[in-house]
Chain length 272, copies 4
Amino acid sequence: MLIRLGYDIEFSLPNPVAVVALLNVHPSRVPDLREPDELRVEPSLAIQNYLDHFGNRCARFLAPQGKIRLYNSTLIEDSGVPDPIQSDARQLAVEELPSDVLVYLINSRYCEVDRLSNVATDLFGSTQPGWSRVRTITDWVYNKVEFGYHHARATRTALDVYTERVGVCRDFQHLAITFCRCMNIPARYATGYLGDIGVPVSPSPMDFSAWFEVYLDGRWWTMDARHNTPRIGRVLMATGRDAADVAITTSFGRADLTRFSVVTDEVKSATV
Amino acid sequence: MLIRLGYDIEFSLPNPVAVVALLNVHPSRVPDLREPDELRVEPSLAIQNYLDHFGNRCARFLAPQGKIRLYNSTLIEDSGVPDPIQSDARQLAVEELPSDVLVYLINSRYCEVDRLSNVATDLFGSTQPGWSRVRTITDWVYNKVEFGYHHARATRTALDVYTERVGVCRDFQHLAITFCRCMNIPARYATGYLGDIGVPVSPSPMDFSAWFEVYLDGRWWTMDARHNTPRIGRVLMATGRDAADVAITTSFGRADLTRFSVVTDEVKSATV
Amino acid sequence: MLIRLGYDIEFSLPNPVAVVALLNVHPSRVPDLREPDELRVEPSLAIQNYLDHFGNRCARFLAPQGKIRLYNSTLIEDSGVPDPIQSDARQLAVEELPSDVLVYLINSRYCEVDRLSNVATDLFGSTQPGWSRVRTITDWVYNKVEFGYHHARATRTALDVYTERVGVCRDFQHLAITFCRCMNIPARYATGYLGDIGVPVSPSPMDFSAWFEVYLDGRWWTMDARHNTPRIGRVLMATGRDAADVAITTSFGRADLTRFSVVTDEVKSATV
Amino acid sequence: MLIRLGYDIEFSLPNPVAVVALLNVHPSRVPDLREPDELRVEPSLAIQNYLDHFGNRCARFLAPQGKIRLYNSTLIEDSGVPDPIQSDARQLAVEELPSDVLVYLINSRYCEVDRLSNVATDLFGSTQPGWSRVRTITDWVYNKVEFGYHHARATRTALDVYTERVGVCRDFQHLAITFCRCMNIPARYATGYLGDIGVPVSPSPMDFSAWFEVYLDGRWWTMDARHNTPRIGRVLMATGRDAADVAITTSFGRADLTRFSVVTDEVKSATV
């Protein structure tokens, strides 16, 4: 399956401002690209690319005062296979985990493991470890939290999601990630493209999406507490401890968003 | 100058539990060691050493049920020079910073840049960028926050410190770090040994200490909002985004602390 | 001056639910009424009227499942005089305050005097007590907080307003009230009608409004950190410690708002 | 049964400060007094007594700079009967409640009904209304929260108790009160004397205590989520929405506590 990916984002800047953008597909998906995947900027600018601590492809630049447009269009090949299900995936004991995975067990900005640990034990302490426990957590979040774009709030933490029970996709994932970590299951935040391939009804405009990954049985698995059903066509852009690590764009100064559109569409071969 | 370092820590464990310990001196200080620096554990255990994301030396092991003792004693050579002062150290624009330093500008668990950004602008927005701004921030925290061991609370964030104005050393550093980041100055949390060398009065039992580092003029500088005066004999153990990254010990299950003593003493050569 | 007042509010109720409504003008304004001021409800219901702790006129009833409409229209005479200014109004020492005013000095749900006390001392500790201090507080809030209906959030406290610097009218008043209390100036929350009489530009649909009152020189004075200018035509409905005490309607169960309109218009005598 | 009551409290005041004290027994217990119950102050001061909104006996005075001592000793007759149990006490529908009870259903400073409402529904939504539901709530709090004087923190709210699971007696009551209110059961905070009459082991120094009351079947009932067993010899001093309303002493300025002792002892008649 081929998927056309792209975005067209514009900011208005009252002053020059340094920007970091995570707008490329993840290194793990680079082999699948069928067209170049380069961030284009108008006006033209010097862009520095680098990998961050988590292995994500980042671009940084100094944006001048005025309008700045970030855009791109690329083509990627996708397996077309839904998120895998492995019901017997085993929860490793902490001492069995690779050392670089341990960081995904502890507190981060929006995932207060310390404050939700008792709650998680109440809710999930008697569930079966491993895949089944993750499923129970994801079901719980999906069923208890109400989605709504008007609920978006940049400072909402997992504890806030737990008490307010409303949010956008990042909020669902933050709560599920925190519960997993409380139960000693490594969990990390993921952002990327997620279209409506295979989805009967597609009510909302296309957007980047967030999901999460858990480490079971020696590898990472895709989970999504917002949709809670295996999906086709996820294209990973970045992973991190939570949304603080992988903001699509971070502006170190004021930047007013004036346009935002995302494309992620299956492309029939004849029309590429 | 030679400094004798050591610790003797004991936990009581109702169940076996995985532990991560950051009890070694930092790789940057290994060349100064005059004796081996190895975590010793009783009962004897298999210990796995590794470097974390931030370059800290970590040790992990599975502690059995019962008592476990972590201890060590080593000897290190120190310059005996107080923390440097460089009043004209320049604040780099964000676009001039190395990419691996950017992570020290953003939100972390105990440093809510998003929630304190407006406050920091009110308080420090009109100060001179660079060393002087960091000094003003550090003075502010030192003067406004009251130290007290009885004020210790594991979940206290920088915003809590700002409103409560009490805390232990980690709280002072978290608030100062957050204010620096809000002003686009990279700041990171540091833990290590800090004895009373050169200090006229030494009121408290020896303990590990926390301080912080800021990135100015192309390098990291030691700052300490708790003591707010240059000190002799800091021995760095670990750096990270905040205390969540560099806990001395992290137990993935219940562990009750039953003994805790730290030694950090200048040693006259004859007595080594 | 005559002012036509009214509202037309509709809820959809999945189940019968008890409701308390504070939709009458305040007892202090009853002598000014030129038409009856009775809450009308469709379908017709038994309504019980009472005065709460704070002296507000309340109506309570059991609303049946389905649609319920609350509406009224009345006429009130108003002085047409703007909110008074008394620049030399004196701040009474706490020991001079009437006992029933003391409650307006302490913590309430959305006004965390305990958490903002240090901040208030930093910001306002060196200002002149009395009217001038209240003006400085009100100016500060007005200048620092950005108004926007899309910023509405029911759980936002004064501390949240202080950190986020955005909100709707209740948020402005909560922060100003809290700062006043921190400085030992009694302050209470007020709700009522506020039209656009005497206002050159009137950008928003009519709505109920919130303001606040401070106790200086032996009486209560009207203040408004949202508009920060004397206004004509306020018609008080209720006062309390904060918005928790004087919600326009409180439903003890689910109630979905389906219509909400408010009228408050000057009426030329000929057209009454 | 006769109970000797008393207290001896001393503050050191760097400046004159207005103080409000709730140190008398509640008006409902005045008929039981066998000796006068008057707050005595050294140095001697003009004291003004009044009843607050909630019907509590309050004393206020201006304390001069220096040491101030508040003390008293009185004698009260008590039924000697444990807190009543009425397992079939019915939960009234909100529309059946007296109007002056409604205030005990809503948000207050330390009881965030809005933030804990979803949690309460999860935990207690399927329990039997009335006495049984209150018992389930009280049992839950008693079993899940760990008591410790070192856990005292003045700003801890019900939500904090829920996440931290530690606290002193006020914290237990705040959480239980909030859960009751979330379930539409009126609940209020109570302070008073509680000795160790009838208690086999009495480990701690005598102190004032907090408990709470719920409104069922047309009257208020004593509950205690800290002790969770019927007790003998409670002497009520004050009730309010939460601890913010009924602090034993409130100082409107700095006051350092230098002595604090409380007496509440059964007295055999011969020894009166």
